[in-house]
């Protein structure tokens, strides 16, 4: 069988697996976020933390909950890293330096999971488990919660209440992420992923040379790293490391895990708004862009000058391109191949996936709320063309709604381009690059695109350990995460306060191909108008060389 045919069938297997779980998982998540019942464990949690799970919050309180929770998360994760020498399983790796500790804290709390550190050297098992694994769960649950608050804005009317952030956070963690992560961690161990509390094992090779092979409690973090679209590896090489991703089977499982929740959330959305077709149309747009970018990346890598540089033999070009497209189209950022060694067009494809704003299909929760915000922009543009007040899902899109949507969309490009611009004029930047010319520029562009979109993958040759990169990338992650979240919650609040307007003959149906084209076009158009000049200096120039 040719590798192209095998690769296409590999994609078919992946899509079939996603199709099987799409409805049950989507419907289950809809129930989790709409039932009034608390499980016993949850009721116990609410008692211990002294929150009333049955009181609902206004959008401002909901947002303060998100911000307050994330703030204490950053502080606690920073302190854990700084105090590492006092913790067990630290293996003498010492306190994480302040700049790096801040960057990591911002990174894991914002669901970015960018890695400026070499885990095997810097991070002991306690910080990995008690610090990083926890944020792998809860940062994903925060994304889910915000998405659900926005959906409630659409389905509720004449209320100022959006639900309870603590309930959404706890339910997302305990009912969705935890059971799925546990099961998939066991599956991954069965496929060969390590789960060891030792720091390493010493071996004497057949040639008599002694080596120490690093070990780590990988499986428990690997599963949630992918399920929660996080992406921070417990080993430096991330999912390219054979202990994180040992064979072509584990590779397929991992790609499945990083897509399954963002994809199924479109079903959850359709179910909650009372019309699954509303979800299918979003899925159609996401899937079309994901497939198109897969074709570009795969073709570019198959025909590149050095197709196997930075790729593992067991995955091949097809298994690497499929992972690369999926990890950058969701905001995961785990890698099973080194994107920095991709061709101009292939690497440019992974970059463009992020610049779409992470909605093809995007991160856990973030993908859904981002594409809903883009839908509002698309309906606004359509409204301008026909001269009608735009509506979406029975809600009028007035000045307040469109402003909030615009702020949410524009935050990422603003912090991204400012960061890149400043980095380029700083004297230390050119020495931090691993490749010359246009590709070196792409390394900087990719870094800020990854941080501002909370992706976390890298053109990893760039050295980002100086204070400027550590702090500016950390700030980009936080602003790229929390400006849109506050804007989205504000939008949700103002949608929920409206009453529903009945559909009329003039309402643009949002379940058909016209809307899908409009939405997909808006995603591409916004990214193109914002980023073509920057892309022309990097990947486009390189591809044309």
């Amino acid at each position: 069988m040719s590798s192209t045919v095998a690769g296409l069938l590999q994609v078919a297997v992946l899509l079939a697996a996603l199709a099987v779980v799409y409805r049950p998982l989507g419907d289950y998540m809809a129930r989790v976020f709409s039932t009034a019942k608390h499980t016993r464990a949850e009721a116990a949690v609410y008692r211990v933390v002294r929150v009333d799970p049955d009181s609902e919050q206004r959008w401002g309180t909901y947002a303060q909950g998100v911000l307050g929770f994330s703030f204490v998360s950053v502080v606690l994760l920073y302190l854990l890293q700084r105090l590492q020498p006092l913790l067990p399983f630290d293996f003498g790796r010492g306190a994480v330096p302040p700049g790096m500790a801040f960057n990591n804290a911002a990174s894991f709390v914002s669901n970015t999971n960018w890695q400026s550190y070499v885990p095997e050297v810097v991070m002991g098992h306690t910080v990995q488990m008690v610090g990083l694994t926890v944020q792998n769960f809860v940062s994903a649950a925060v994304g889910l919660a915000v998405a659900m608050a926005l959906v409630r804005g659409f389905i509720r009317s004449k209320t100022d209440r959006l639900g309870n952030f603590w309930v959404d956070l706890v339910r997302g963690t305990l009912r969705i992420l935890l059971p799925m992560a546990f099961l998939s961690a066991i599956v991954l161990i069965g496929l060969g992923v390590v789960m060891s509390l030792r720091s390493g094992v010493t071996v004497v090779g057949p040639d008599g040379a002694e080596h120490t092979i690093a070990l780590a409690p990988a499986a428990s973090q690997e599963s949630i790293k992918l399920l929660g679209t996080n992406g921070g590896g417990i080993f430096n090489a991330n999912s390219a490391h054979p202990f994180e991703n040992p064979n072509s089977w584990s590779n397929l499982v991992e790609i499945f895990l990083l897509l399954v929740i963002p994809v199924s959330l479109t079903r959850t959305f359709g179910k909650l708004v009372g019309n699954p077709k509303q979800g299918y149309v979003l899925l159609g747009v996401m899937g079309t862009l994901w497939s198109g970018m897969l074709a570009v990346i795969w073709w570019a890598e198959s025909t590149g000058l050095r197709p196997l540089e930075g790729k593992e033999t067991r995955f091949g070009v097809a298994g690497s391109a499929l992972f690369a497209d999926s990890t950058t189209g969701t905001s995961t950022g785990a890698v099973n191949s080194m994107h920095d060694s991709y061709s101009g067009l292939g690497g440019g494809g992974t970059l463009l996936n992020m610049l779409f704003g992470e909605m093809t299909p995007g991160g856990v929760g973030t993908g859904l709320y981002s594409i809903l915000v883009m839908a509002i922009i698309a309906m606004f543009l359509a409204g301008l063309m026909v001269g009608r007040t735009p509506e979406y899902l029975g809600k009028k899109l007035g000045k307040r709604e469109v402003t909030a949507a615009a702020v949410s969309i524009l935050a990422m490009p603003t912090v991204l381009l400012l960061g890149v611009g400043i980095a380029l004029v700083l004297p230390g930047t050119s020495g931090a690059l691993n490749n010359p010319g246009a590709h070196g520029f792409s390394e900087v562009l990719y870094a800020y695109a990854s941080a501002s979109n909370n992706n976390g993958s890298a053109f990893a040759g760039i050295t980002v350990t100086n204070d400027w990169f550590q702090s500016s990338l950390g700030v980009c992650m936080l602003l790229g995460r929390f400006i849109p979240i506050v804007a989205v919650l504000c939008l949700a609040g103002s949608l929920a306060a409206q009453k529903k307007v009945p559909e009329s003959a003039g309402t643009l149906p949002t379940t058909g191909p016209l809307f899908a084209t409009l939405l997909g076009g808006s995603v591409v158009l916004v990214a193109a108008l914002t980023f073509v000049p920057a892309l022309a200096l990097g990947p486009i120039a390189e591809a044309l060389l």
Binding site: M1, S3, A6, G7, Q10, V48, T61, G68, F69, V72, L76, E120, M129, V134, V138, L169, T173, L178, F182, I186, I189, V193, M195, S196, V201, G205, P206, D207, A209, I213, A214, L215, A219, S220, I224, N236, A237, A240, P242, P246, S248, W249, R306, P307, L308, E309, G310, K311, R314, F315, G316, M338, S341, Y342, G347, N434, N435, P436, H439, E542
Partner: protein, 202 residues
């Protein structure tokens, strides 16, 4: 502002409880399950032992070094960005890709040098050296090579070890993993297991 402080304190309490559940109980539960016979060997790194001595992991590729380069009995792994030299072993206590782009003249020279060294070692023309033999893997620890690179090394290994070429080729076939489900990934040859099998056959 008072409300933000109040929410932060609630957030701290929730975070501490979720830390116990997802940061302590969850990883320990996964670790506990991984102690089950059948999973434990995987969980501890799929270590291979010979005569009670751990010789490596089937999942981790570390290039073996020949005592006498003129009589090199080993199948070799792909180049590693962890290695000091263009070819040679990397250090498996870490993991790293080269992150070199296709448009990079300095790196072109490294790739060309690898091609020359390998062609000389195998006694073949440079254009017969496959891509994976001269490019660094993503992890720096790729345990496998392409069937083409294994085939390139068969004649030399047979000559140095004194084994018949057909027997060495059969050992290569024994240690080749096909595509999962017939479609996943690419076929590949596991270098450590193959080297151990060759040594046992000698």
């Amino acid at each position: 502002m008072n409300n933000l402080v109040k929410q932060s304190l609630a957030g701290l309490r929730v975070l501490l409880v979720l830390t116990v559940i997802t940061g302590v109980l969850y990883p320990l539960a996964v670790w506990g399950v991984s102690r089950v016979p059948g999973l434990q060997a995987n969980a501890e790194g799929s270590i291979t032992s010979r005569n009670g001595q751990a010789v490596g992991s089937s999942l981790i590729g570390v290039d073996p070094v020949a005592e006498d380069p003129a009589n090199d009995p080993w199948f070799h792994t792909r180049p590693s960005a962890l290695a000091k030299d263009p070819l040679g072993p990397g250090d498996p206590s870490s993991s790293l890709g080269s992150n070199k782009s296709a448009v990079n003249e300095d790196y072109d020279a490294v790739v060309a040098e690898r091609r020359t060294l390998i062609a000389r070692r195998e006694g073949v023309a440079e254009d017969r050296v496959p891509q994976d033999a001269v490019t660094a893997s993503a992890s720096g620890l790729d345990p496998q090579i392409s069937p083409a690179y294994a085939e390139l090394q068969v004649a030399r290994v047979a000559r140095v070890t004194g084994l018949p070429v057909d027997e060495v080729r059969a050992l290569v076939a024994d240690h080749t993993t096909g595509r999962g489900l017939g479609v996943l990934g690419d076929p590949a040859v596991t270098v450590l297991d193959l080297n151990l099998a060759v040594r046992a056959a000698k």
